[in-house]
Structures are given as C-alpha cells and as structure tokens.
C-alpha cells in the first residue's frame, strides 16, 4: 500500500483534485443516551465537501441516532456538532434550508400523489429545482400522478431522494436507503447516489450493507455499540486489517497437493481433487502462487483470487458478521 493518504479515493472513474480539506460536517466526542442505554459513545469524525461518507455497522449500532443529531432532530447529551458551519440544534431553521434528508423506513400520506409531495416540499424551501425535471432524472415521471401507497419499494425510495434534493441542498443525509430493496432496485439507487455526488453535493449515508458501502463510499466509519471503531477509505481499511489473500486454482498436477506447502507465504492449503485453495498473507502472495505455477509448468484450467472485503474487515474488528 502506498503512503499517500489522500482523503478522496478515485472510484469508478471519478477523480478529485486534492483540495484543502474543509469539513462540511464535524462531530467531536458526540454522546447520546436513551435512558440508561448509551446509544452513541464518544464518536468523532469529519466529512469533507464532495465526498460520500458512510457510517456502517449493524442495526442498533447508533448510526441513525448520530445522523438525527446532525439533522437537528435530536439533541446530543455531550459533544459538539457542526454542519455547514451551523449548530444543528441552535440553528436548525437555517440548517434545514441547506440539508436534504431521507429517513429509514419512512412513509408519506398513503393517498398523496407523487407530484403533490414534490410540489409541497418545493414550497417549503426558499428556492427549489423544477419538480418534473427531478422526477425525470429519478425515473419517476411516469408515476407523477400515482398515490404514494401504490408505489413499489424502489419507487418510494426514489421519491424520498427527490424530496431530499428538491431544494438543491449542500449536504444530503441518506439513512439505510436500500434496505429491503431487491438487487436491481438497489443498483439503480446506487447510480443515483453517485449522480448526487457528481453534482457536487456531499452525501452522508448509513448502511449495514458492506457491499453498498464498498461501492459507494469514499470513506467509511465503522460503528458498533455506539463506538466508532475504525475510519478510512474502504481500501485503507482492507489493507490495514485484512492482508489475507486466497487463491483458488484447478490443475491436475501429479501429487500437487504435497508441494503446495512450498509456496512462500502460504498459510494453509486445501485440495479437493483437482481444485486447490491456498491462503496466505501479503501483497506478494498472489505473485508467489503464479510463480509457483510457472515453475512447476502446471496446466491450469481455472485460476481466481479472492480479495478481502469490508465485510471481512468488519468480521475481524468485531468478531461477528454484520448481517442480522
């Protein structure tokens, strides 16, 4: 891993010039209790302009509470918060003009029409974008006159994105945006979120889906039991915590399984017939396996490497899977 600790990673062909980092959101030693339960325990983080920042962790980890404190919907017990230079609680009226939000498992009035919701929300802000153009961008124009209750899960979430974007906010908060959606709807939403960022809006999202965090987020913070346990780009976290590489290849070499232990860096090998699985540590491990295959002049029918993911990082850090 290189030494560069650029705050913005270049993902999916989008690159960022290293601008002087000006935090759009800063959280210092945030603490929030519900009765005796400590929901958020001394969380500190900063989010910079134009990035997609993800707060990840299992349900009940304190993600939503953190987000709602930032939106001014809850008052923290301790710590200081700043969003766009404003105090979310004291300056809530000013702040709400400049942020867009989407809440977890939210609903609208059952019989409100899509255009009515967009029109209502547009009227609440001092300036707004063209509602129909926004619906078009989100693929909701054909549903303009449909009642909220008749929309599919994905359409509802896209409407909530529309409501979050109607006033061109500088920061958008998205809470568990794709929970309960099928994979196809999820992918559509991911593309939309990338589109939001491309227009220069900062995105702060929560998710318990590691794949979502890995695909969307420039940086992630892992939170568990209210505590922030790690923060960085997905690549950084994987490189820091999971050096393990797995190589699986298929080859019919004579008594091959006995010689696999000789690959430098190998930690374990499993052979099932012609299929061999090698696990080792370090960036060089895959190269070593390739070199071994070349040295042995093996005839290889299949070869793949498995890289660790954020899910593995989470498992390693918390000792448990994230899926509930």
């Amino acid at each position: 891993m290189s030494e560069s600790i650029s705050r913005f990673s270049a993902r999916e062909g989008v690159s960022y010039s290293p601008m002087p980092p000006s935090p759009v959101i800063s959280v210092h030693h945030l603490e929030k209790r519900y009765g005796k339960t400590l929901a958020v325990d001394d969380v500190s983080l900063e989010v910079y302009e134009g990035e997609i920042f993800g707060l990840i962790g299992p349900n009940g980890a304190g993600k939503t509470t953190t987000m709602e404190c930032l939106q001014g919907l809850r008052r923290q017990d301790r710590g200081s918060l700043s969003v766009l230079g404003l105090d979310p609680h004291r300056d809530s009226t000013k702040l709400r003009q400049r942020i867009g939000v989407q809440h977890q498992e939210a609903h609208l009035q059952k019989r409100i029409k899509v255009w009515e919701a967009v029109d209502l929300w547009a009227s609440l802000y001092s300036s707004s974008v063209d509602g129909d153009a926004l619906l078009e961008r989100l693929g909701l124009l054909p549903k303009r006159n449909a009642w909220f209750m008749t929309l599919s899960g994905g359409q509802k979430q896209r409407l909530f994105i529309a409501l979050a974007l109607i006033h061109e906010p500088e920061v958008v908060f998205l809470d568990e945006l794709t929970t309960g959606l099928d994979p196809q709807a999820r992918r559509t939403i991911w593309d939309l979120v990338k589109g939001i960022r491309e227009r220069g809006t900062t995105v702060f999202l929560t998710t318990h889906l590691m794949e979502e965090a890995e695909r969307l987020c420039d940086r992630v913070a892992i939170i568990e039991h209210g505590r922030l346990i790690e923060l960085g780009t997905p690549e950084e976290l994987v490189a820091k915590h999971c050096l393990e590489r797995t190589v699986v290849f298929t080859s019919d070499g004579e008594r091959l399984s006995e010689r696999l232990g000789g690959v430098p860096g190998v930690r374990s090998t499993v052979s099932q017939g012609a299929m061999h699985t090698l696990t080792g540590e370090g960036d060089d491990f895959v190269t070593e396996v390739i070199a071994f295959v070349a040295r042995e002049k093996l005839h290889v029918r299949g070869f793949r490497t498995e890289m660790p993911t954020l899910e593995d990082v989470f498992l390693k850090l918390t000792g448990r899977g994230i899926r509930d």
């Binding site: 939106q71 919907l73 009226t93 709400r96 003009q97 939000v101 809440h103 977890q104 498992e105 939210a106 609903h107 609208l108 009035q109 059952k110 019989r111 409100i112 009515e116 919701a117 029109d119 209502l120 929300w121 009227s123 609440l124 802000y125 009642w147 409501l163």
Partner: protein, 245 residues
C-alpha cells in the same frame, strides 16, 4: 412559512377527501344519525321541535365535533408511526405549522358537516332548525377547537396507530354522556359533576344550548372562558408530552 402552511393544508385536504371512510365518518354519519333518531323520536311535528328528551341537533353537532377529534387522533398517530411527522419536522416547517394545518382542516370539515346537518334538518324536519346559523356554527367551532386541543393530548398517549381509534373513542364518547346533552349536569353525583365541568364537551353543550334557546353568548361567557382555559391547558400540556415519533 404561511405559504407552506396553506400548501400543506390543501394537500392534507385532498388526501383526506381521497379516504372514503374518513369522509363518511365526518360528514355522513352524524347527519344519518340525526335523521334516523329524529324520525324515531317523532321530530316531524314542528310543535315538538326541540322538545324530545333532548336536543338532537346539539347531539349531532357534538358528534361531528368528536368525529373530527377522533380523526385527528388517528391521523396524528398514523403520521407518527409512519415517520411522516418526523420527515415534515426535518423541513423548514415549524411544528406549529404542521399540527396547525390539521386543526384548520378539521375545523373546515366540521363546518361542512354542520352545514349538511342544517340542510338535512330543514329539509326533513321543517320548522325544527330555528336557530341563528352563524352563531350556532361559531359555537360549534369554538367547542371543536377546544376538544381538538384535548385530542393532541390523547394523540400523545396512544401507543400505536392501531389503538388510536379505540382509545380515542373510549375516552371521548363517554364525555357525551356527561356533557349534559341527555340530562342536566346538575343531576350527576358530586364527583362526576366535577369531572363533567373539567371536560370541554360539557361547556360546549351549555354554549350550544344557550345559542339554541336564545339566551346567547352573553349568558354563557363562563362556558366560553372554560373552553379557552381547557384549550390553553391542553396545548401547554401537549407541548410537553407530544411525541413526534
């Protein structure tokens, strides 16, 4: 944020009209109740006008007011459970605007329900509705507003949307029995008399009766004051106990 207020009220009106059950409960049932009971009790002859055991028109008006409050309790709890209240609060709308638009909506439909009641009364029981319509409407609206404020307190107490209607009904319908619409409050046992005077419905009925029998607002300033005091107390209480989520 007056612009947002009227837009929200207008959207809420449309949404309310699209729900057949709510509309029937608010507008049709009180009128049907009035006509059916009126026929049963022989309200047809003008001479018996308001004479049957109690004033049916006032009972029906009270019924309209209470349906409005029940509807408010149900809507608030559904909106709370669905996160609609929370989502609206995350906009620049003030909390007063969000709840105020519901009050305006309920008062608006109370007026329409009362109008239908008056029309039906004049059509089906000619000569019975001998009352100053404006004054009576004003009395019903002041009463409804006061009971609505109690509705906000009740809406804070119901645990889930599923229990909103039953709990609201269990609390509000017995108030009709104590209100003096069926028999004078003075005939209640001492304890229940005190309870009755603490309820908005009792003062609502007294005011409506006063407007009906011609003694007018002047003779019932105490009841008007009581309705305002109850409203003030309930509003103050709900700002403390009201739950947005």
């Amino acid at each position: 944020m007056l612009k947002g207020f009227w837009k929200l009220t207008w959207v809420e009106t449309k949404v309310f009209i699209r729900e057949p059950m709510g509309l029937i409960g608010t507008l049709i049932i009180p009128v049907v109740l009035f006509v059916v009971l009126g026929r049963t009790l022989g309200l047809r002859k003008p001479t018996t006008a308001v004479a049957p055991p109690f004033n049916l028109a006032i009972l029906a008006a009270l019924f309209i007011a209470i349906s409005a409050v029940l509807s408010l309790v149900a809507i608030i709890s559904i909106y709370r459970e669905g996160g609609i209240l929370k989502r609206l609060r995350a906009t620049p709308l003030s909390p007063v605007t969000i709840l105020g638009s519901q009050v305006v909506l309920k008062l608006f439909f109370t007026t329409i329900g009362l109008g239908l009641l008056m029309l039906a009364g004049r059509k089906v029981f000619p000569g019975v509705m001998q009352v100053n319509v404006l004054s009576f409407t004003a009395a019903v609206l002041v009463s409804t507003a006061s009971i609505l404020s109690l509705g906000f307190v009740i809406a804070s107490l119901v645990p889930t949307a599923r229990f909103a209607q039953p709990i609201g009904g269990a609390l509000l319908y017995p108030m009709i029995a104590l209100s003096g619409v069926f028999f004078p409050v003075e005939r209640l046992p001492a304890f229940w008399r005190v309870v009755a005077y603490g309820l908005p419905t009792t003062h609502a009925v007294a005011l409506m009766k006063g407007v009906w029998d011609g003694s007018g607002w002047g003779a019932h300033l105490g009841d008007v004051a009581a309705l305002f005091v109850i409203a003030a107390v309930c509003v103050a209480l709900s700002t403390r106990v009201f739950r947005w989520e």
